[in-house]
Amino acid sequence: MTAQRVVVDPVTRIEGHLRIEAMLDGKGTIQDAMSSGTMWRGIEIILRNRDPRTAWAYCERICGVCTTVHALASVRAVENAVGITVPRNADIIRNIMFLTQYVQDHVIHFYHLTALDWVDLVSALGADPAKTAALAQAVSPHWPKATTGYFSDVKATLSKFASSGQLGIFANAYWGHPAYKLPAEANLMAVAHYLEALKWQKEIAKIHTIFGGKNPHPNYLVGGMACAIDMQSDNAINMERLNYVKGLITQAQGIVENLYLPDLLAVASFYPEWTTYGGGLGNYMSYGDMPQNGIGDPSTFLFPRGIILDKDLSKVLEVDPTDPDQIREQVAHSWYTYPAGTEALHPWDGVTEPKYTGPKPPYKQLDENGQYSWLKAPRWRGKAMEVGPLARVLIGFASGRDDFKEVVTEALGQLKIPAAALFSTLGRLAARGLETRLAAHWLQAEFDRLVANIKAGDQQVADTTRWEPATWPAECKGFGFTEAPRGSLGHWVHIKDTKIANYQAVVPSTWNASPKDSEGQHGAYEAALLGTPMADPKRPVEILRTIHSFDPCLACASHVFGPDGEKLAEVVVR
């Protein structure tokens, strides 16, 4: 094998448009890598001069896969700016919608976006249905569809589909690649569950529909939620609606505990080598979320806030996203220009102009020494960070939280691997499953909290005292955040004369998929690919495994705002 460059474009089974170029040495090991976001929409430019109360809807359309997360960050930013504390019911309903998104998004990620990197569809055709049923029963004793007849039907469906000659989304993939290690029966079980999860995901989404009117893209409201609560009304959140939600939560817990987690651990147990690849940066960040006493009290967050550096789990550092010295974005390798002499800027002062300097399309390759992405490079105190499930689980674990320690320790024990194995591609996939377990559990707890609060006589869902823009300061700034399924999401808004003067979003996939910075530090995707051996560079399944372990979302990641030359004079920052 000679040194070569492997290009994967489009990277499929993700949201948006991502291109990966990997440079291999003579042994087929990745020596250098480039992550390029190849789309840009300019939504923050579009937000300028609009009514801040409507910003959530524009922002929500940043992404329809992680629907709701940008809406949530946006209403929190505006509420922070104009000084609104939302009622407890609204906080809890938002938490329920947030957790619903976690469970739905993470299950879809496992089965529909990454499973086919580990599960060989063609091998499943040779499985013995009786042995598959035995395996399924051993892996998950409480999942009812584990009979020989069931797996015979699935196998028949699969075989006849394959023999139809029209393979649709499964055509031309990497079936038979030496990197696939599952026995035929495990493959058949996973394919059956791919279809089960596809049927189920539309159910859990109904929680968004009940509180927000539709999914994707449910409705939010600055000041609370629009879904009034009235136990005596047939036209509000009432007993029938709450019962509906409760049933969906119970069903979701069954899917997470009896389908997703057992499948995840079963698949992982066949790929121990992937606990040594894909670790990457070793720096992790979480803004924290799931407030129990309002968003202004991070000490009560179920997802704790913090930073871990250099894989050191002995200490968790503090992060303050509103501190101009901590989070700053660079554009050395991005298709933007900064004013002369400026290297990095905090989102409050976001000054950016798009300037494409890449090759004229159609092109064969990008230049790793030049600018090569529509994503900027955000850094925390100059360091590249990984955000997302692995970051959250490690920070929860390192913070000494019992719930995190319990799920992590149990999974490590089952897989018979040490905690250090979490710093890997497989560790990232496992962390996503473990936090889904927590999320499904918290869903019930939040539901109970909502019922208890209503029972105590509180039906309020919105605070409208500052709904009218006339009640706002002439100028104010706000920061809104959430821990989206893919990681830390921050929205920074500057409101002037009741209109949006400046809007910035720094999103999870911008952190993870970022290009190099001015010091040549790789972003998280790039760093995670280094050192990975590839068996057959023409069929890049190894690259897909690691990139998919982050669950890329490129529509989110590419953002920019136009020049905002004005210096802020007297500004209210709450």
Binding site: M39, F161, G165, I169, F170, N172, P361
Partner: protein, 367 residues
């Protein structure tokens, strides 16, 4: 595995899956019901499923947020699995495709070459046209080129969602990338616009199954939208319409009217100017729709809805009263920021309905 070989009909595939004739007929009846077809048309559905091979579909993604794909897989009747495995051959789709990179581009070229004039091009998102289209590239080429190239030999084009139909959020002022909807870029091809951000799941699968069943496009209005799903305003079939007619409105979020489920018109609801099936089908298998959960409609299936006045501003003009109004009759619907239309509308409307005029004045006095 390759995608060559003789394509099988939907019935062939179902039969091969162990579905007997009885179950197959039931499946066809349900499909027909889902499309709102009369029972007398079931034999037509049966014939289509028995004789037609699965149509190859190339589903491209441009500048978008993937909410259309997400909505599509939420479909309850038919479910996504049936569409993908039994009804169409989804040969190219960045979001669900197992293969990546060169292998998927190879499939796209192969379908274009082997099935010219036969495949359906489904487009999610739109194309940026500024600066040579560099704001969205796929496989090293601009999405604009990929779209044009793929459309050339397509049988017809389905423009999913508001991005592909109207431009949606990235084409809102000042449209920094010059994003344009499909019908402004592709000419000489039949185009079906299926607007909404996203469209309702069953509207998406309904459009596809209609084409499979009848072998032709559904009847379209002058905006290329299927009349069967976009002929009426949300307002006209809204279950809260009676409160509008009675002059009972939510005046403030979370007020007593909100708890009783009164009309959201004064909170900016765009139901009166929005053509879509939300108030009939509802969302996520009939669970609710925006108005049903207390927030006004934001008009997401209407052209240029992001740049019409802020969606909490009350509509001051409601084009034409009455359930019989169709988009073609009304012309392009716009939420006009300032005007006197609504007062006149209320006056004439109240007379028409013969309702208590004092309630009518109540509504007018707030204008």
């Amino acid at each position: 595995m390759s995608s060559s070989g003789h394509p099988k009909t939907t019935y062939d595939v179902l039969r091969a899956h162990g579905v007997d004739r009885r179950k197959f007929l039931k499946f066809c009846t349900l499909t027909a019901a889902a499309m709102g077809l009369d029972v007398s048309l079931v034999p037509k559905v049966v014939e289509a499923m028995e004789t037609k091979p699965r149509i190859p579909v190339i589903w491209l993604h441009g500048l978008e947020c993937t909410c259309c794909s997400e909505s599509f897989i939420r479909s309850s009747h038919p479910i996504a699995q049936d569409v993908i495995l039994n009804m169409i051959s989804l040969d190219y789709d960045d979001t669900l495709q197992a293969a990546a990179g060169e292998q998927v581009e190879e499939i796209r070229r192969k379908v274009m070459k082997e099935h010219p004039g036969e495949y359906v091009l489904a487009v999610e998102g739109n194309a940026p046209t500024n600066d040579g289209g560099v704001y969205c590239t796929v496989g090293g080429d601009t999405f604009l080129n990929v779209l044009r190239e793929t459309a050339e030999h397509a049988k017809f084009v389905v423009a999913w969602g508001s991005c592909a139909s109207n431009g949606c959020v990235q084409s809102a002022y000042p449209n920094p990338t010059g994003a344009k909807p499909v019908h402004e870029l592709i000419h000489g091809k039949p185009i079906v616009n299926v607007p909404g951000c996203p469209p309702i799941a069953e509207v998406m699968t309904g459009v596809l199954t209609y084409v499979l069943t009848f072998g032709r496009l559904p009847e379209l209005d002058s905006f290329h939208r299927p009349k069967m799903f976009y002929a009426q305003r949300i307002h006209d079939k809204c279950y809260r319409r009676a409160y509008f007619d009675a002059g009972q409105f939510v005046e403030e979020w979370d007020d007593d009217g909100a708890r009783k489920g009164w009309c959201l018109y004064k909170m900016g609801c765009r139901g009166p100017t929005t053509y879509n099936s939300c108030s009939t089908f509802k969302w996520n298998n009939g669970v609710s729709y925006p108005i049903g959960s207390g927030h006004g409609c934001i008009g997401c299936s209407e052209n240029n809805f992001w740049d019409n006045s802020p969606f909490y501003d009350r509509l001051t003009s409601i084009p034409v009263p009455g359930i019989e109004a169709t988009p073609d009759g009304v012309g392009e619907t716009l939420a006009i920021a300032a005007g006197v239309g609504v007062a006149a509308h209320f006056a004439s409307f109240m007379v028409k309905k013969g309702l208590d005029r004092s309630r009518g004045r109540d509504a007018e006095s707030d204008e």
